[in-house]
Structure formats: C-alpha cells, structure tokens
Amino acid sequence: MRVMFTVSDITAHYFPMVPLGWAVQAAGHELRVVCAPGQSERITGAGLTPVPVLTDIDIFLLTRFYFLWQTLDGNVPAGTWLPPMDPETGAELDRIEDYDFSALAQRMLASEPPKTEQRIDAMVDFARSWRPDLIVHDSLQLDAVVAARVTGVPAVMHLTGPTGTAETEWGAQIVPSQFSPAYQRHGIADPGAGLIEHVIDLCPPSMAPPTDAVRHPLRPVPYNGSGGLPAELLTWSRSRRRPRIAIVWSSTMVKLHGWTAFPVRMLALAAAKLDVDVVVTVDAQSRARLGTLPDSVRVLEQCPLNMLLEHCEVVVHHGGHGSTMTAVAAGVPQLMVTYSPEHTICAKRLVPTGAARWLYGPYCQQEDVTAALAALLTETVHRDSARQLRAEAMAQPSPVELVTELADLAATPVS
C-alpha cells in the first residue's frame, strides 16, 4: 500500500512516528512524508523520504502568540504559571501592558492564515496525485484530515504521549476551535464533529489518555535521533559503582517560557547531594548556563535518551511526551518537573501508575528535588511500577504488527 505521513514543524511531535515509518517501509510498502522544507533533513536523517511541499511555519512564534493572546483574554486558568513572552523575539516581557499585542495580531492575521491554506492545499494536491491508501499525521498536523476526506482514505492521528483528543483542561486540547477557510473550500462544512476517527496511542492502558476515536495501541519504540552514545559515556558505564541519574531538558522550554523554565543547574545540584553519578544532557547553547558543577555531574550534548537510559536508574525531565515515553519504554522511574500545562497533565497521568513523581517547576526547591530523587531511588514501589509499566507497554503491538492492522484499515471502504 501507499502510506502518506504528514508532519508538523517540531520533531518532538513526529519523531514518535519514525519507527512506524520504518515498519511501513520494511514491510515493502511505500511511504512519503509530506512536510515543510525546514523538516526535510530531520526526516531523511531518520531514513524516511520527505516531500517538502508545505510552507514553513514558526511553531514557537505561533505558540508564544497563542499563550499571550490567551493570557490577555483572561482564558488562562488561575494559578497556571505562564510568563508573558514576546512572541517574535522569545524574550520575557517586563510589563505585558506595554506590549503592542494588537499590532502583532494584525501582522499575524495577514501572514499566517495564507500559510495554513497553502499547507492544506499542498497536502490535498499531493494526496490527489500520489493517491495514498492511508494518511497518518501527527497531533499538530490535524489539517491532514482535509486531504484524507478529499481523497476518501482513512486519516489516523499519531499521538505522542498521554494527551488525548478528548481533553477538557486548558492547554491540553488537541482539536482547535477555529478552522481555516480551506476546510469549507474542500467541502468540509462542519469540521468539529468526529474529525479525528482513529488514533495511534503509545500509552499502556494504565496511563491511556481520553479519546473518542478508535484507539490503535502501539508499543513505544523510542527514536531520539540515531547518533550513538559518546565513547566517554561507554567507558564510564563500564566502571560505574553507584546509581546514576539522568537529567534531560528540552530546549523548547526556554524558547516558549524563557530561562526561568531552565532549572537544570538546580536539578543537578539537587541530584549531586545524593551518593550518585549524574548525567546531564543539554544543547550547546544551554550548556553555558550550567556554570561549574560538582565532580559527580557529567554534561553531554546530543545523546539519544533511549540509549542513555540503559545506563541510568532514574531520569529527571520536564514532562515532555518524548522523554516520558522513552522512560516508560526503558522501565526507568521518572521525576517530572513541569512548567507547561500540557506537561503537568502528562505528569498527572503518570503519577498514579507509581512509576513517576511530580514537582511543579515554578515553586519547586532544591530540597524537594533531592527528596523526590531519594524516594525514586530507594522506594521499591517506583522501580516495580516502572517495570510493570514497561511490561504493559511492551505487550502492545509493535510497529511491525500495527502495519498489518493499518493495511486492513486502509482496505476498508471509508463510510
């Protein structure tokens, strides 16, 4: 069969689709990944074939704009930590009242909707000419449903973690409330109802997110880039004598919420209070922010998390779906220090399983982190629960097995 993937403009949302892409290709099916040019290299670098026909969009600008707009409109629930950022520069705003939001809104109203229309039309055009049997899209590329409706094939949304399509809390809703005029132009009069009919869900049942769509469970196979472990870490691993804690932090956090949402130095100092080794992975730009750290802390740039976690007992992260599902698949207990509402929801789904502890970043102190880490290392409930959750995850169909299921779905006439 022919499978069309279409992906958004942030790797965190489509890297979880990569193993399914491998499985599609390895079963001898054809796969094309419709994307914007800015994503092309990441997609070829995963072994898949991009079709870079979509206009690039700046997802950080759009997200910061959305957050600021929601803040100004008073839609952000009380108690939600969301510092106002300049949508264009990503700098923190001193006084929100001084910012000329309406000028930006005017500019964006002129520049952004045409991009969305172009993207929808380009997806439709490619689907019409290539005639896929199935379209799989990530959760930010919902507009793919238009191409699926127009060509009469099923659309499947590939979820990234424990956020579903039927969320009610602010910050977690995947389905937008407003749609591009392109929907109507392509004959979709009422986009809202039953827009998402199928989801691929990486979550084991005990942390499954709410959805009204048909759920296709998939075993999480982490893909965080293909680079190997640094030789230094391999050598170090062979000689280790005490537990190791990994601290990973997404560069997206700083882009969306500023350096206040970069507590990595505090986390490293908190971990170093224990009798453990600590590995911190950050990007090159963030590394300078860490300052001098104790001898027991090693800092790495760009290290695939799934490979790192083979050598770690506990992982600390920001509550992102990629880190969460990688830790679930590795069976490693997690400390989630969250700032964003969506990450907090992710933590709330994990904590009841026993495999994770949660601290709310904006109010969290170094002593809280040390205490939580000590508990994760010593209380067997966390280790056992993480193993149990991993076993549950591994019992789900592998990408190879899901391809057979998707081929059946593609062969079923769309009602």
Partner: protein, 415 residues
C-alpha cells in the same frame, strides 16, 4: 534482542541491509552498526545507530590493486590497462609500478586496520552482549565476534555477488577467518565462516551461495533524499525516459577510458527518448553541452527516479541493478571490473537486460546495445516479471521472526 552488525567501507555494500535494520528496530529490537568512522554519518542518516570501529580504509585503492594484480597474473585480458593502485594515475606499463613494495605495505596496513577494527567490535560485543551478528559479504570481524560471543551470525549480501564465486577476483572476496585466528578463537579449520545467507537478489539473478540461503525482498534504499514534487524531469505523456546511472568510483578505479557516459548519451539522444543522468557533479562537468532531451539529476535517490523510467543503463553497481530489478526495468549493464562484469552476465543470462563489457567498446557497439535494450520487448516483460518475483519474497519485516528464531535456537533458516 540485540543485533550487532558489521559492514565494510562502501555505502552500496550495506544500503541493501538498511531496510532489515528498520525492520529489526520497528519490531522492538536493538541494532548497532559497526563500521569505519567515515561511514558513521551515512549509517546515522539511514536511521540506524553507527558504532565507529578501527581506522578507515579506502576501498577504491583495493579495487585498483585487484585490477592491477589480475592484470599481472594475466587474468584481465581485454580490459583497460590497470591504474597505479596507490595514486590512480595511468601507468605506462605494469612494471612502472613497484608492486612488491606496495603489496607488502598495503597488506601490513590492511592487517593493522583489520586488527584494530576487530578489537573495537569485540569490545562492543563484550559489553553489549549481542544475541545475533549480521554482516555484509566481506566484514570478517563479525564472524570472529559471533564466535567469541557464542551467538549465530548471518551474512546479508549486497547484490549479485555470492559467497561461492569462482571468477578470479571474486573467489576470495567472501569473509573468512585465517587459520591462526581460528586457532586463537576456537573455530574449527573446516567450519564455514559464513553459515547463513540473507539474499536480497530476486531468484533469476541470485548469485551462488554455499551456505543455507534465506531470500529477502529487496527494498530499495540508496541514501537520503527528498521527493521533488512536481518531478524534476519533463513529464510529457508518451515519451520513454531512460536513466543513466554512473558511479564516480568507476573512473577512479578504471581510468578515464571507462567514462562512457558521452557515448551512451549520444546513442540514447539519437533514439529520441528523454534521458536522465544520475551522475555526480564532477562527472557532469566532463560532459559539456547536452542535447535538449538530456538532463543531469545529481543526488536524487534512485528509488524515487527509476519507477518513472522505462529502462536503465548503469555500470553494474549492486544498488542500480537491484533498484532497477525492484522497479521492473530492463537494464543495459556497461561493466568494467570483475564484479560488475559477473553481475552484467547474470542480468543478461536471466533475460532481464543486456551485458556490454565496457573496455574498448566502440560507439557502434554502444549504439547496438542501446538499440537492443530499447527494442527487445522480451527484456521489459522479463524485468516486470522479476519485479513481481521480488515483491513476492518475504519482506525484511517478515524475516525478523526468522532471525529471532536463529538467535534463540541457532537453528538454520530457510532450506
């Protein structure tokens, strides 16, 4: 399970096994690909995880050395005169090169590289404890690693060259373990180094193998690249399109006399077909002004080009031959080296193409071969049949359970 894979220093030697790598990863297994450091980026961009081992070697030097050695032994009659193996310069005669001195030095160098690479592979095997070892036709270090780890190994062919070839130059290519090393690692003198073969060549062109053979559907992967939409070639309906694939190594191994692209272009352009030249930029510069129906398309993945062609002309490389086979195209193989000549003969014998020894081929001979390619409908029919045969073979994903069983029980695969 954990699968350790060893490959040699030429991407087309391991591109055919990339889809099996995807299949293993998508089935939830772990894979590490050991290769010279220069291959790491190429492996990583295919979506697999490289482990750089030992220093690099330049396979072109050894291909030239083989050509020179065969000429010295009188086994290269009718071919182009060999080049200086070390520099690639043309030689006035065979004695203009100090072979004894070079051979002694090169043997020493290759032994040193082989030792270093084997040591690195063994280090990884010791710490990572693979359940199975895969390797390409020549990566002998894999056999040593499998023996010492006490796990099964399987050889994945790269194309139309088998494990039991009798042609001079190919007869000693397949991975073997020298007697002193066998003694050292407890491997019986009469035990075959290659015990199982995974063969991605469709039956009519499959090469001879001594070990039990498991066929695998060839799924084309020829390196990273995006799909251009609309296609980067003229799409006038009803015109035949012929691809000319010419690797840059041909000239480096066989000298300037082997660059037959100008004569091929003349012959094809005269036939009024559209011609797409899949050649490197350096080769394109040698061509000068091209007829209007001839276009150069560097760096475009063959797997995306060939399904839009009616026939293909190439130099006998495994990637071009197998991608053409999967696309069901008749092939004209213009070959120089012993491996390419043997492949060309297999393709001609199977009735899916025309073999043309390239040395001293006159323009009239080249025109006749092109005419035969374009005017023999039986070739196209047989090629289409071969593509169906390929598509009917077990996919890489189907082969994973066979490898799981091999790893678990050591039992022979296939029949």
């Amino acid at each position: 399970m954990r699968v350790l894979c060893c490959v040699s220093d030429y991407p087309t030697h391991y591109f055919p096994l990339i889809p099996l790598g995807w299949a293993l990863q998508a089935a939830g297994h772990e894979l590490r690909v050991c290769a010279g450091p220069a291959q790491a980026a190429t492996i990583e961009r295919a979506g697999l995880t490289p482990v750089p081992c030992g220093p690099d070697v330049d396979p072109v030097t050894d291909a030239r050395w083989l050509a020179y050695s065969l000429a010295r032994q009188g086994l290269r009659t009718g071919q182009l005169p060999p080049l200086n193996p070390e520099t690639g310069a043309e030689l006035a005669d065979l004695d203009a090169f100090d072979h004894a001195e070079f051979a002694a030095r090169r043997q020493q160098e290759l032994a040193r590289v082989g030792e270093a690479r084997t040591r690195d592979v063994l280090d990884l095997a010791k710490s990572w404890r693979p359940d199975l070892v895969l390797h390409d036709l020549v990566a002998a270090e894999a056999v040593v690693a499998a023996q010492l780890s006490g796990v099964p190994s399987a050889c994945h062919l790269w194309g139309l060259t088998g494990t039991s070839e009798t042609t001079p130059g190919l007869d000693s290519l397949a991975a073997d373990v020298p007697a002193p090393v066998r003694e050292l690692i407890g491997m019986a003198a009469d035990e075959p180094a290659i015990r199982f073969v995974l063969d991605p060549t469709p039956p009519p062109i499959a090469p001879p193998t001594a070990a039990p053979r498991m066929p695998v559907r060839y799924v084309p992967y020829n390196g990273p690249g995006a799909l251009a939409d609309p296609p980067p070639w003229p799409t006038e309906i009803g015109r035949a399109r012929v691809a000319v694939v010419w690797g840059s190594a041909i000239r480096r191994i066989n000298g300037p006399g082997s660059f037959l692209v100008p004569a091929l272009v003349d012959a094809l352009a005269a036939r009024g077909v559209d011609v797409v030249l899949a050649i490197g930029a350096e080769e394109a510069e040698l061509l000068g002004r091209l007829p209007a129906n001839v276009q150069v398309l560097p760096q475009y993945p063959l797997r995306l080009l060939l399904p839009h062609c009616t026939a293909v002309v190439h130099h006998g490389g495994a990637g071009a031959a197998l991608t053409a086979a999967a696309a069901g195209l008749p092939q004209l193989v213009v070959a120089f080296g012993p491996m390419e000549l043997r492949s060309a003969q297999r393709i001609a014998d199977a009735g899916v193409g025309v073999a043309l020894p390239g040395a001293h081929a006159a323009p009239g001979t080249i025109r006749a071969a092109v005419d035969q390619l374009l005017d023999t409908p039986e070739l196209a029919a047989a090629a289409a049949e071969m593509a169906r045969a390929n598509a009917a073979l077990p996919s890489p994903a189907d082969v994973v359970p066979v490898l799981e069983k091999l790893a678990e029980t050591g039992e022979q695969m296939g029949g």
